[in-house]
């Protein structure tokens, strides 16, 4: 049996959606952690106390739900395309996470970073193309 391993637009959009979920999850986890800023974790008891205090946080649960959704979508995608395609195409989060911190923390993006973002997009296009060309005839 020849498996279809072509990257379709639909799968590509789901991969981008994963990146947004991942960004959202990281944002939620950061918000959760920031709410307990004063705490210093030195011993196991401190860590246990920290976990105890963050459990009621709605951001923690939003983040965890996102992570679970990511796993479900990711598994579905992997049943359709190569791992060596899915992983690089999923690197949009390296662009979205800095962008979110820019809007949230009002940072500035340096010229070098813009170059980096350009290279990531360029790379994603190349990896996507490599999957389109490789369609094997049945």
């Amino acid at each position: 049996m020849v498996k279809k391993r072509r990257l379709t637009l639909k799968i590509f959009l789901f991969l981008v959606f994963i990146d947004f979920l991942e960004t959202f999850a990281q944002f939620c986890f950061k918000k959760t952690a920031l709410s307990e800023r004063g705490l210093e974790i030195k011993a196991f008891a401190d860590a246990a106390h920290f976990i105890g205090t963050i459990i009621p946080s709605p951001f923690l649960w939003l983040g965890l739900i996102s992570v679970m959704m990511i796993f479900v979508i990711w598994s579905t995608i992997l049943s359709k395309i190569d791992l060596s395609v899915a992983v690089p195409v999923c690197s949009f989060s390296y662009i979205t996470i800095p962008l979110v911190s820019v809007f949230y923390f009002h940072e500035k993006i340096s010229a070098l970073r813009w170059f980096g973002i350009f290279f990531i997009i360029f790379g994603i296009i190349f990896v996507s193309l490599s999957s389109k060309h490789k369609e094997e005839p049945e």
Binding site: R113, F115, F126, S130
Partner: protein
């Protein structure tokens, strides 16, 4: 100073290696399931079938280990440094996909992966 730097680099390599192992176990498990997933029902079926494969749980273990090492690294190293080195996971995963999963990684795909890695290096350090 120099010794602790090598230690951190080694730890980042280890966290990426654990991540690669967990991705490999997930993908190789999915490869054994012959299912054309196009409905929600089939997604649930896929997940239930996956849960019965022991390799998946080993993958989860490595995933947890990877996160634990990563959090330790972040407590020791600067974020930009850790993040830029973390991009080696793209190369590790591509190599593993090629050698273990027998995926065909051609020149264009390698070029794309190299460009993504370069981009991450610039974003992380810029």
């Amino acid at each position: 100073m120099k010794q602790s730097l090598i230690f951190i680099i080694l730890l980042i390599f280890l966290t990426d290696l654990c991540d690669t192992i967990s991705q490999l176990s997930l993908k190789s498990s999915i490869n054994t399931i012959d299912l054309h997933v196009n409905t929600v029902k089939k997604i649930i079926k896929l997940l239930l079938k996956l849960a019965k494969i022991p390799r998946i749980w080993i993958g989860f273990l490595f995933s947890t280990l990877s996160l634990a090492i990563w959090l330790f690294v972040l407590s020791k190293a600067e974020l930009s440094f850790a993040y830029s080195l973390d991009s080696m996971r793209y190369i590790l995963i591509a190599l593993a996909s090629m050698l273990i999963l027998k995926e065909k990684v051609g020149l264009i795909r390698w070029l794309g992966i190299a460009s993504v890695v370069l981009g991450i290096l610039l974003v992380a350090t810029g």
